[in-house]
Symmetry: C2
Subunit: 299 residues, 2 copies
């Protein structure tokens, strides 16, 4: 099968206790696509300006990410700048220059409208809806979002959630969306709004998968040092969606196995800035961490 | 075997979104002892005033907690008042009336000095040290603490940590004690200071057990509603220590199995105020949640 991924493609300036990088490849869809492409053919739907470095496009191609739906338009690429606090969890956005992203309305090329697995990476929910409407035979929709859209585009977001099979949120977003303190209860409430499966990302504490009467918990892969957490959630989701597409099975168990893959890929992603580590990781390295993860829950 | 547990025995006033209770049984050692006594004979070392309700002493006895080292002194019982925020995690201490606790120096009765498993529940580290010095053939020392002692009695606390086999801390305390961001690295740093095993309590996200080259992670048991989290960590630790004493085996694997027991007992403890739920839970109920927990990490 194939995966179609829509979301932001950006250049990022990131500052934290480990250093500062400028104009590196970033954006939710960049991380997700590269992660997904490790498992199955992936098509990236996004937009960049004519300032977008050709080497980034080459990187996508080398990683197996199809770029026929990556629009290049005269103007500036979406440029995000952020500074992390010393906990490497909280961060301040220093600037958000939307550039060509500002008035973008994604058009899916005819040849890609038959793709059956779609991942709506973090982006305005109206754009997520617009993409979904163009797809002709969707069998699995995964959806990610962020606090910004919960606060500013709630109605559209609720429609996206309704149309999603798998919803990915972090613990804070789960509480914002439901008003529930208990994450378990929040997941039930979210499932009642549409998604068959809700995945709650718990950062350094792992993730939980909530299905009908089923719960699966996975710890985060333990790292002595995180260099840059940017894109961890996007990597996690991309790996999951790519894994599901490859296996062509979307039940609870394959989703859990995909979450293990996502957990491991995210653990590599945060070991360097941008996609620098993610694009270099070998299958052997992934296999080793998967084995370690499975040992960590046995006693 | 037996377990000796030293720590605070208190009456608590607790306020949260579910209600308000006054002068209910509280204190770290109360929760820990009742949890431990479910697994093995437990002796409680503590002090109360002559205002301490006789029914609380009766409750200890009914639960199998030995009270020969529970000193009763003219004066007031330690009285703590706290109000939880709506997240049921953060709380403000409204008052702390130490009463007879203020100048207490625990004396272990001769008959109890041969107990081999000791749990130093949360209490001033100088008192923890004083208890340890009186024990004659200790084989296993577990230690809990809190941010207050990290900030105000660090030197004494470091000595307790050095003498402990198992150190229990929450994620915030692990970071305070080590200055490390990574909990995995913090656990390594803490192990280098003495304890063979470090257990990091992650609240609603579970716990991790860190031994030599080994890591075990357990999720929290998922609850739709927490009524009162007071004493959850104490219950967790008490169950672990009681379980280890009963099995008379203190290696990594039994500690992990004890952590599963602690996780389940803590999940019951928070389902009501004070020890109301903990004292009523049946072995069948515990067994069921243990089974559910083991299912939650399989895929």
């Amino acid at each position: 099968m194939s995966v179609l991924i829509v979301g932001s493609v950006a250049v990022d300036d990131v500052e934290n206790c480990h250093g500062k990088v400028t104009r590196v490849l970033g954006g939710a869809a960049s991380f997700s696509s590269v992660a997904a492409a490790r498992y199955d053919h992936t098509e990236l739907v996004g937009i960049v300006g004519d300032d977008f470095p050709g080497q980034h496009v080459e990187l996508f191609k080398q990683q197996g990410v199809g770029t026929q739906a990556l629009e290049v338009k005269p103007g500036k690429t979406f440029h995000w700048g952020g500074r992390y606090h010393d906990d490497l969890v909280h961060r301040d956005t220093l600037f958000t220059k939307l550039g060509v992203f500002e008035d973008w309305m994604p058009v899916i090329p005819e040849a890609l409208r038959g793709i059956e697995v779609v991942f709506l990476a973090n982006i305005h929910p109206l754009l997520q809806l617009h993409v979904l409407e163009q797809m002709q035979q969707v069998r699995l929709v995964g959806c990610d979002t962020m606090n910004l859209w919960i606060n500013t585009a709630r109605e559209a977001l609720d429609r996206v959630i309704e149309k999603s099979d798998i919803l990915l949120v972090n613990d804070e977003e789960a509480r914002m969306l439901t008003g529930e303190i208990s994450l378990n209860k929040a997941a039930k409430t979210l499932r009642a709004r549409g998604p068959r499966i809700v995945i709650i990302k718990r950062g350094e504490h792992g993730a939980s998968v909530h299905g009908e009467g089923r719960l699966f918990c996975v710890p985060a892969y333990p790292l002595d040092e995180v260099i840059d957490p940017t894109g961890a959630g996007d990597t996690f989701a991309g790996a999951l969606m790519g894994y599901l597409a490859r296996g062509n099975a979307f039940e609870f168990e394959p989703v859990c196995r995909g979450v293990l893959q996502g957990t491991v890929l995210a653990s590599f992603s945060v070991e360097d800035f941008s996609l620098d580590r993610l694009t270099k990781v070998t299958n052997e390295e992934i296999g080793q961490r998967l084995e370690e993860l499975s040992q960590m829950v046995r006693c």
